[in-house]
């Protein structure tokens, strides 16, 4: 077929098709990196193809995996990890690390840990982020709070939120705190307390068979939301990232949880000064750190040795400090190679945006436990739906434990169905 260009360059250049879901402002950055790579590697041609959202891309990949339509590199979100491994259609990156005797120690441990299963690195972390607490420094000042002392515990959070909540008549002009109804934040809030999501060490030691997120750690999170919502200091931002950010930027909320990736444009576009801090923990609980989020790059089994090698070259290129520095500065995602943080580009950027460093620090301070390694289950997307539903039920006045139990039960059901 005329537009299928695989053959055309095959004899001269190795073509590496790279499916991604980097839309919006991310796409130009990704394309620039790919371009630079192609310029510097005359025998390889990486072709980035946007495939819609992670879900859409995965849907399509499911249908073509193992055929010649399949890409050589595929970007998949973190919760798809188990799915990819189980599919049997991928080549663990470890294979090439071993072949190439590549030194992975230069990679960020806390990131790589997530994608390491049974001691093997399955995919190459690419765009990684963690949640952080973001707050409106101006609002802090106005409420008589110290903008340099953001709340670190639940009680501090509640306290600050109360002060930050401003009402005029019945209407609330400014809410204290908000958090997206999105499973990821819930997972993080458990992990930071050292809680697990599923049994068998978050599914790392053996296939998970049961959800455990409805334990005390989960309950604490839900109770926090319930309490604050009851107090009128919590703003229900729904499921839409942009709605929440819009609310923050419009001064509707003073503090909220967001991905570290969006930081820079948020700081740029907010008409007030923005502060960034660690995830709060319940009082008296030791901070364990955060689980990595985002997506990683997978190598396909169906591709030829040559293509795989080329893909590996690309992956190596991407992890080089200079590329990572650029990636970090331009997108806000972490650098997989911490050496990048020493690049002048980053140094300069951090000077301008000291907030960026907070997220990196939070990641570095993370303790390597099963909790912060992240859960490994296939039915993650579906489980998240149930958690979201449970979160939404909180606003309807459902008891936190009850809502959590329901979500856990549903998760167990699908876990069993697939085992």
């Amino acid at each position: 077929s005329s537009v299928d260009s695989k053959g055309e360059t095959a004899n001269r250049k190795t073509e590496v098709v790279f499916w991604h879901s980097m839309s919006g402002d991310l796409q130009p950055v990704l394309e620039e990196i790919v371009n630079d790579f192609n310029q510097t590697h005359s025998d390889i041609e990486v072709k980035p193809v946007f495939q819609g959202t992670y879900e859409e891309a995965l849907t399509k990949w499911n249908a073509v995996a193992g055929t010649k339509e399949a890409p050589t590199i595929m970007q998949t979100f973190e919760v798809g990890t188990k799915h990819m491994i189980d599919s049997g259609q991928i080549v663990p990156v470890q294979t090439w690390i071993d072949k190439d005797q590549y030194d992975v120690s230069q990679w960020e441990k806390n990131i790589v840990r997530y994608y390491t299963v049974n001691g093997r690195i399955y995919s190459m972390p690419f765009n990684s982020s963690t949640p952080v607490l973001i707050y409106n420094k101006d609002a802090f000042r106005k409420a008589g709070l110290d903008p340099e002392k953001p709340p670190l515990t639940y009680s501090e959070l509640k306290e600050a939120a109360k002060k930050l909540t401003k009402k005029s008549g019945k209407e609330t002009k400014q809410y204290g705190f908000s958090m997206l109804n999105y499973g990821w934040f819930f997972e993080e809030m458990i992990a930071v307390q050292g809680g697990l999501y599923v049994n068998h060490d978050n599914g790392r030691s053996a296939d998970a068979t049961e959800a455990v997120f409805h334990g005390q750690e989960g309950r604490r999170v839900f109770e926090l939301i319930r309490d604050m919502y009851r107090d009128g200091t919590f703003y229900n931002a729904g499921q839409n990232w942009d709605d929440m950010r819009a609310a923050f930027q419009a001064g509707k909320i003073a503090m909220y949880l967001d991905s570290s990736a969006g930081l820079k444009s948020l700081i740029d576009n907010s008409p007030f000064s923005v502060g960034v801090s660690y995830l709060p923990v319940p009082d008296g609980i030791e901070r364990q750190g955060v689980v990595i989020g985002g997506a990683s790059l997978w190598m396909m089994k169906g591709s030829s040795e040559k293509e795989q090698k080329a893909a590996w070259e690309f992956m190596k290129y991407v992890t080089s400090p200079s590329v990572q520095a650029k990636w970090h500065v331009r997108t806000g995602y972490f650098a997989i190679n911490p050496a990048a943080y020493d690049e002048p580009l980053v140094k300069e950027e951090w000077k301008k945006y000291p907030q960026l460093k907070v997220a990196v620090d939070q990641l570095h301070e993370t303790k390597p436990t099963a909790a912060t390694q992240g859960a490994l289950i296939t039915v993650f997307p579906e489980s998240r739906q149930h958690v979201v539903k449970a979160m939404e039920q909180l606003y309807e006045g459902v008891d936190p434990q009850e809502a959590l139990d329901q979500a856990a039960k549903e998760t167990n059901r699908v876990l069993q169905k697939t085992n």
């Binding site: 077929s1 005329s2 537009v3 299928d4 260009s5 098709v17 499916w19 839309s23 919006g24 402002d25 991310l26 796409q27 130009p28 193809v49 946007f50 495939q51 819609g52 959202t53 859409e56 849907t59 399509k60 249908a63 073509v64 055929t67 339509e69 890409p71 982020s129 990232w241 942009d242 950010r245 819009a246 930027q249 419009a250 991905s259 990736a261 969006g262 444009s265 948020l266 576009n269 008409p271 985002g294 997108t331 806000g332």
Partner: protein, 270 residues
């Protein structure tokens, strides 16, 4: 009294139009705002900026996407016209056993929820080797129950005597179809064309599935491409792309609306 009523009438019309048009105008205005304006929730841009359009065209190859959309929508439209008119012709002018049964089978296809067929269809197209090809983007949409239905009604407006006169003079079926039936059904064909074009223009999920090459992708994908999840969206840019994506269809609609109404009047319903 008379003028009061007239003013009230046209006033009412204007209000209705304003309400209906508001979302579109809103999108248009937003596409000219910078981020600060948008987050301030303004209605009117403080300063009119073209930068959003610039950004939209830079971030996604909207130009070629537009051309592709144009091409794909046109080919689907033409294909539908041909396939539907052939079938409708048979249903109206030819007498053969089982004709009505076939007609009802065709009509019943309207009831199939499209989402339920996406994956098997994708596999079919893949097996045919039509992925990343205009074939895969267009051919599956050529047959369309609504089109057959509409043109059948249109053809039924043609006096049957014309067909009999043709048979008597030895004008064959196909000749009659080309020379008489089609030219006499212009309104119906235009109606179907406009409807199909709009329909095809607005496809998203299917083109995304069957293509992985920018060179054949359509504008709705471009629209999606400008939105992100984890990162903050540039709403102005997204709105600019939305305006770009809806403009051609609106123009087409403004041009074809009268024909469309006439066609629907003659056919479609009774």
């Amino acid at each position: 009294m008379k003028t009061v009523r007239l003013v009230a009438y046209y006033g009412g019309l204007c209000i209705c139009s304003a309400l209906l048009l508001f979302p579109m105008v809103y999108a248009l205005l937003m596409s000219f705002m910078d981020k600060a304006d948008i987050f301030a929730g303004r209605l009117w841009p403080e300063r009119w900026e073209w930068t959003n359009y610039q950004a939209a065209f830079e971030q996604a190859p909207l130009g070629s996407y537009l051309l592709n959309s144009l091409f794909v929508a046109s080919v689907i439209t033409i294909g539908r016209l041909i396939v539907s008119s052939l079938a409708a012709f048979a249903f109206v002018f030819l007498r053969f056993p089982g004709r009505d049964a076939w007609f009802y089978i065709c009509i019943a296809t309207m009831l199939v929820p499209w989402e339920a067929t996406v994956i098997p269809n994708f596999l079919t197209v893949q097996q045919l080797g039509w992925t990343n090809h205009y074939f895969g983007l267009t051919i599956p949409f050529w047959a369309m129950a609504f089109g057959i239905f509409l043109l059948r009604q249109q053809f039924r407006q043609i006096p049957y005597e014309l067909y009999e006169a043709a048979r008597l003079s030895g004008i064959g079926n196909f000749r009659f179809f080309c020379r008489i039936a089609l030219p006499l059904s212009k309104t119906g064909l235009v109606t179907l064309a406009v409807y199909s074009f709009l329909d095809a223009w607005n496809m998203y999920l299917w083109p995304l599935l069957v293509t992985s090459d920018d060179r054949v992708r359509t504008v709705q994908i471009g629209l999606k491409q400008l939105q992100t999840q984890e990162m903050a969206n540039s709403w102005g840019v997204v709105m600019a792309a939305a305006v770009v994506a809806m403009l051609p269809t609106l123009v087409l609609l403004f041009v074809g609306q009268k024909q469309l109404r006439k066609g629907l009047m003659q056919g479609a319903i009774q």
